[in-house]
Symmetry: C2
Subunit: 438 residues, 2 copies
């Protein structure tokens, strides 16, 4: 029995999917146990799409002519209502009412849905999963987190014997590329960002990449999958890399560490502590060695211990490959959907409430006694100090870093406030505080 696939939106990612479906017809037939046929593509600009990805024009709705938005809407509706189409790939993007309506419509019309749309899943995943279950259809989203790394399949079907204790990862290649440049070449954030844009790793508008938004979308999806947590995207604490300075990078290096934008979720008792934020990763941790636009995920399980997966987090064919694996899975098993998972009793807490080691860079007036004042204030908050860096002197200022033993973020903030209140003028600006990933 044929398995008929339509693609909505045939840009970078949709084009990669089409390319693989066309190139691998025989192999996919064998793997899926049935013929997997790409039957229709809806895209506003078929000519460009067809030329860029080498796809026959005849596969495009509207005979390959350019579509007006109204025509495209009608063609999408045609796909949704076509009883011969089994699965729809959504690679349009966006997370507003229109794309939510389209993707819900796919499921409501009794078709499987595969999407790489992390923003949509972060904001409306609960609703889409519920619609998929209600209509007995599958929802594939391997491509939404760490594109080519099979982390979704591993969480859904590979690590099901596990009690997952924590997940940490580098989920945003653009910011990792920028931080790698700052680390290896001593570039400032601004220079590294311009370099990433010139090389095509960062969009003209890189906001979501550098402010932690994109990584936050992915962490929201992972929280649902690994811990059964349904949380609003807005409730996942996140901080981007745009505030990281070359000075912090240098201090991190002094303590054998490197700064990475880390998504971290850790289960302790009835809570899952989570955040997206720049953290210091020690050189002994393999995550510190993930450079450039590569993605990585570390899963720590109660039984399996540490598992690490590393691969490409973006790209036309890389993301396309992940989507095609979902298509094969749904061709095999899509008509045997799983029961709804019970509501998790775990609750989300910000990562700052968890005791972690911290790295704090203080900029101070270069006067005798300042190290003692800072160290004493930290001790007053019951925080043990792990190490104090060399002082870096510049003009009349000094910069030094203190690495603490595990404590909460509130303890760190109280120590800083203590110094500011009792020794006014001793600190120049807010200290820069980064958790250290264990």
């Amino acid at each position: 029995m044929q398995f008929r696939v339509a693609i909505l939106g045939c840009g970078t990612v949709g084009g990669g999917v089409a390319r693989i479906l066309l190139d691998q017809q025989v192999a996919l037939h064998e793997r899926a146990g049935r013929e997997v046929e790409l039957v229709r593509i809806v895209d506003l600009f078929p000519k460009q799409s067809a030329e860029r990805h080498g796809i026959p024009r005849a596969l495009y709705a509207g005979k390959g002519d350019e579509l007006s938005p109204e025509q495209a809407d009608a063609e999408v509706l045609g796909v949704l209502e076509d009883p011969d189409i089994d699965l729809v790939v959504e690679t349009i993007g966006g997370s507003g009412p229109s794309i939510l309506g389209t993707t819900r419509g796919v499921l409501e019309q009794g078709k499987h849905l595969v999407t790489a749309n992390k923003a949509l899943l972060a904001k409306h995943g609960e609703e889409l999963h519920a619609a998929a279950r209600e209509h007995g259809k599958g929802l594939g989203f391997e491509a939404a987190v760490c594109a080519a790394i099979p982390i979704i399949r591993s969480l859904e079907d590979g690590l099901t014997g596990e009690e997952i204790l924590s997940i940490s990862g580098i989920f945003n290649g653009t910011s990792n590329y920028i931080l790698s440049k700052m680390d290896t070449e001593g570039q400032s954030f601004g220079d590294a960002l311009r370099d990433a844009q010139a090389k095509g790793y960062a969009e003209a508008d890189p906001t979501l990449d550098i402010n932690g938004g994109d990584a936050g979308h992915k962490l929201t999806i992972v929280l649902r999958l690994a811990f059964g947590l349904e949380v609003a995207f807005e409730d996942v604490p996140r901080q981007g890399i745009d505030t990281v300075t070359a000075g912090e990078v240098a201090f991190a290096e002094e303590m054998q560490g490197v700064i990475k934008l880390i998504c971290h979720a850790q289960r302790e008792g009835d809570f899952v502590y989570a955040a997206v934020r720049p953290m210091i990763v020690k050189r002994t941790n393999l995550l510190s060695k993930i450079d450039g636009a590569t993605n990585a995920v570390r899963v720590i399980g109660r039984y399996a211990g540490e598992n690490m997966m590393i691969g490409q987090g973006a790209g036309s064919l890389e993301t396309g490959s992940a989507i095609v694996s979902d298509i094969v899975f749904l061709a095999r098993y899509g008509d045997h959907p799983r029961p709804a998972p019970p509501k998790s009793e775990l609750r989300l807490r910000p990562l700052g409430d968890l005791k972690l080691p911290y790295h704090i860079v203080f900029e101070t007036a270069d006067v005798p006694g300042i190290t003692g004042i800072v160290a004493t204030a930290i001790g007053h908050q019951d925080i043990n100090i792990d190490s104090v860096s060399h002082n870096r002197h510049e003009n009349d200022n000094a910069e030094f870093a203190i690495a603490t033993m595990p404590c909460t973020r509130a303890q760190v903030d109280a120590a800083v406030l203590d110094i500011q209140n009792n020794h006014p003028g001793s600190l120049l600006g807010e200290p820069r505080v980064l958790p250290i990933l264990i």
Copy 2:
């Protein structure tokens, strides 16, 4: 509907499975969508097994009393013939007719089979897979390769959009532990082996670990899965680590490399070139950073590029976790088996037939002109030289290493023969030849 599981053989691995099934009853019920119940264990020594793993004696066949081999056979037969048992975990071990008969019997009786038995699957996998298909049942073996790493699920269901170009990995933790010790502490092979035995990483009889047999079993399984290749275990070329010397380790270091026991399979045209053997892995390759008893797999795909998975390759709960993930998968999807894959048209060739860079350590008489003789002979075989190491002088002998550009093993052997024939006495012993992993 309940999903009833029996375990045959409850030692290190079987005990880990039982422990997780008992500890995670609620979670597994939720994940599988049905109750997963451990109903019976057959083991010769229930008392020791129950105490070691904290399992109720009542779960053991024979009311928990010690069983004679005949009684155990009868109990195993009882499990096979019990229509209420859905899945049997085989953690007895061995690859002879008895265990083959038992595992075939499980499938013939219409039950799913899950096993960690790599020797059995390497030697009789084709037969067992055929039996599973014939009887419409599932065969789970996630634990057989790199225990806790979900590599089998990833190959079966996660990377199905890929055309796999190569798979390389560190599949044997014992030999990796020994090589790591030789590298970081300069130990000899013998000392490192004794250290591994003292720490429990190597068995009293470590033959299969150090001669490449265990890794060969795993590579045979991976060849089937990744390339559809049905090959006899004996036909997979393999060489162990027992011949690796401290001198080779030092030369590898000089070229920024480290020696690892590598399983490698690479597709080129209609052939898959494969072998298990010590290889030099450059420090720029993440596989070089996998130390101790950890396992790792690198999969290079046409679309996804490089994927790497790292985790624990042995241990009671680590292996148990992998087996439990198979149980959950089969509880979900076991009754919807896949069609038989078509016979692959790819053929196996020894890795030596593929052009690879080589590292050759020559021990020679310490006389002028010897480097020229060796380098000339290599050039005569059309092999380009990448680098020549420093000479190490000892008494009247010298040792040096040459790294070549890619060539076949036959070219290397011809160069060595040329030197031996035309400059008799110049080489002291056979040169030590290792491929360099790219």
